[in-house]
Symmetry: C2
Subunit: 500 residues, 2 copies
């Protein structure tokens, strides 16, 4: 065994240990959002800070640089996946070493503290109680962005973005978002006019008990292929997918007057979960075996929620099951009427409940605001006014309060800046992927009409999930769809679904 082979082996051992630590962090994070009593927050913050610091130390120990240099020397002798794995090790290491250890600890504590304050502040619609903690957090994130910017020779916002979506740059997003802003407002108006002229959606009469909604959510997860021996469904303020590939935990939230949103949240998170479960098993614990950033991740959730989940084919399968589950009666429960509910387009306040036509406008607002916060030109105290003004410009409506405005999302209070644009990039990617999957499997929609997602799941396992992090995000997309990331497929999808 050569020195460089030994070095690469030692790196793999270290990344296995890092993966175990990150898995432990994922459990603590999930527990905090779903199970932890409020009084556990301080102790949990200490636990999370300790694990963050240890993970950071594991990555940034001086011997890692030496091992990387030694392994690099003969990287060309490695097999293809190992070479990609080594490249990912280098990338992860570069992100870690760019952030000083004491900043990792301060960030971890401030994220935990701000998130707990946000939970109360949002419930009480009391933005003033959140602003000071948010300002402190923004300052720490800016410190991190500056450190990474210097290390990578990037703009600070790009340096943060790169952590969520490897290789992505704001200049590219600016171009894509400008295209969307070019056609979306007009499309939205056209769709709204057409919907106003047609028959309105008949009300679905509730209440819809939580227990029934949960039962139905599990049913639908089963249709999508969720494996309950390797995962759970629970409740949290903000739906998310947590845990590890072997133990994938999704959450939703319930509203007894409206089952439609919770059910689609379940399908959305199941899409994320299927991605994690489908990552290449032989590379578990190694960087190349991880999910390829948040744009590809979101493409998987939206593929199942927006593309397949709201297709006429699947809704026709779902309708009689919803009717039976809730004891519904009459034409309101027919597929056509359910489609009217699931395809209603119009400006709204809450991003996670927005339709797919207006959703990018919510993201564009957040993208602009967070770039200003990272640039230091927008302080927490000025966020509500900037938010409300942006909502007015982009969507034509103004939130009645901050709970329905700038406090609605967990991302900023939990320290995630540079994450929001990946939602819309993911929507663009999902449209491309669904078109490609249908091209490869002409019977795919017939299968959905029978509740059978397996052709779609098989296709994404091969073309997306199974690739892990061997290709770049755009490399995965290009290999799967033969097109780079763009707005064309998304635009065709919107036109076909809403204006045909």
């Amino acid at each position: 065994m050569s020195n460089s082979t030994a070095a690469y082996g030692a790196l793999k051992d270290r990344f296995d240990r890092l993966a175990a630590l990150q898995g432990a962090q994922a459990v603590l994070h999930w527990d905090r959002a779903t199970m932890m009593p409020e009084g556990g927050a301080r102790a949990r913050a200490e636990q999370q800070a300790a694990l963050s610091l240890i993970a950071h130390e594991t990555l940034t120990a001086p011997e890692v640089s030496d091992l990387l240099a030694s392994a690099d020397a003969t990287a060309s002798e490695l097999a293809e996946w190992d070479r990609a794995n080594l490249a990912e090790m280098r990338r992860v290491h570069a992100h870690a070493t760019a952030t000083p250890a004491d900043l990792v600890t301060r960030l971890s504590r401030q994220k935990s503290a701000t998130e707990m304050i946000w939970r109360k502040a949002r419930a009480a619609n009391d933005y003033a109680s959140l602003a000071p903690a948010l300002d402190q957090l923004i300052e720490l994130v800016r410190e991190q962005a500056a450190a990474k910017a210097e290390a990578f020779g990037l703009d600070p916002y790009d340096a943060l973005l790169d952590g969520y979506d490897p290789g992505r740059r704001a200049a590219e997003i600016d171009g894509l978002f400008a295209e969307l802003e070019g056609f979306l407002p007009g499309l939205m108006q056209e769709v709204m006019e057409q919907q106003d002229a047609g028959p309105g959606a008949l009300a679905l009469e509730g209440p819809f008990p939580v227990a029934l909604q949960e039962w139905l959510g599990r049913e639908v997860m089963g249709f999508l292929g969720f494996d309950f021996a390797h995962g759970r469904l629970d409740v949290s303020h903000h739906p998310f997918t947590g845990g590890v590939p072997e133990d994938s935990r999704i959450t939703t939230r319930y509203d007894e007057t409206d089952f439609t949103r919770s059910l689609m949240a379940v399908i959305h998170e199941t899409g994320h979960s299927l991605y994690e479960r489908g990552l290449p098993e032989e590379w578990r614990g190694q960087p190349v075996g991880r999910a390829r950033g948040m744009t590809i991740h979101e493409s998987q959730s939206l593929l199942f929620e927006m593309q397949a989940g709201r297709s006429a084919a699947f809704i026709s399968f779902l309708a009689p099951r919803l009717k039976a589950a809730f004891g519904g009666e009459g034409p309101a429960w027919e597929p056509d009427n359910l489609l009217r509910h699931y395809r209603k387009v119009g400006p709204s306040l809450i991003r996670v409940d927005a339709d797919e036509v207006t959703y990018p406008l919510h993201v564009i607002l957040r993208y602009r605001l967070e770039r200003a916060m990272i640039a230091g030109t927008l302080r927490a105290a000025d966020l509500p006014a900037a938010w409300n003004e942006g909502m007015k410009t982009l969507l034509g409506i103004v939130p009645p309060d901050d709970a329905n405005g700038c406090m609605q999302d967990i991302h900023w209070p939990s320290g995630s800046f540079g994450y929001f644009p990946t939602y819309t990039l993911g929507a663009l990617a999902a449209a491309q992927l669904f078109a490609a999957a249908k091209g490869a499997h002409p019977g795919l929609e017939d299968a959905l009409a029978e509740g059978d997602f397996s052709p779609l799941v098989r296709w994404v396992r091969e073309h997306v999930h199974g690739r892990g992090s061997r290709l770049t995000p755009d490399g995965i997309l290009l290999a799967a769809t033969e097109e780079p990331l763009g707005t064309a497929a998304f635009r065709r999808h919107i036109q076909a679904r809403y204006l045909s």
Copy 2:
């Protein structure tokens, strides 16, 4: 600041970090027993092994020895609690350094694997599927016992025992258990004859829905002073108390044909939880702030379950509430009849459901068997026969199968050897403590008759909980009751309750 003051400060920082790591481990452990889907076991084992190893490294790093030596040099200048804290640091460090790092990892993995196998094996009543893993685990525990024995100059079993109950030795247990064996079988016969001669217990007609039992459990936890902002109640195979003092998580299990056992398990675990919550807050994270071993811990659960929870006073308070909760009718729901249920004495198969008179016999059986396993004279393959023979000798009954025999407890499959005797030592201590508390507060039982546990809780907070690990286990007992640990108070308690 002198060098030794600096050294002690550096040790405190390190033990804070260790406490955060152990808190994270506690969450992973709780989650595995309550929430984790079966398929998550392998990944969880890796997470737990990584954290065990890191905790071990944190304690055994070479600089810790140096810091301890430096701090020791001027220990006499420290305040009393700090001196006790330093002594505890030394004790914890000695236990850790006695076990080699690779053994820590192998033990952690084997414990996780064996416990998961046990879950299936017990459910399927298939001891053969458990035996090989149990043998491997016993070998590793013996390896650990031998290493600690050599380091401490103790017998291997004593070395394990010391980890659960600091300072406890088998020779002392032999003496106490011999006294119990001297009078318990005769007492048991006498009680059974008296109970047979009296009116039998009227049946409590079920079913008792899980949701109602859970609601009632929470009610009763409230009477005891459980703070739900700092804790939870959940379900697991084997009831336990987990988490950390600020986030104390208890579990129970439900049987829809019998509510009585689950409810007492809730009271039992609440007793453990109150101890954790009542530990001195200013010493959180430091060794002297921890609970003082498992004998004192069990004395707190049994104080609430056996001493206070089954007192005539509290049962008279509980009876009308049980009756109302389950819609019960007639004389079966009167306090006298409930007491007959809660005080029924006789040999039984399952330790956790045993009455307090026969319970020590269950423990004596396990104590003998685990001493033989650690001595290397009893292998897993021979355990069922030895178990059944011991049950016949001690309790006069033989289990129909291993699920109700040697597979009933989680302790051995999860690697806990040297733990069982503390259950009975705790029962002895609980009898002493309750007698002392009643002596100090003559109105204590009147308060229980009104569901008011606060006089008892205040007394144990002062005399037990608040002491942390500043005294030895026997030191706590002596200070609180003016007597060393013995069997006399327990014997008086049994005679007064069952033969008066």
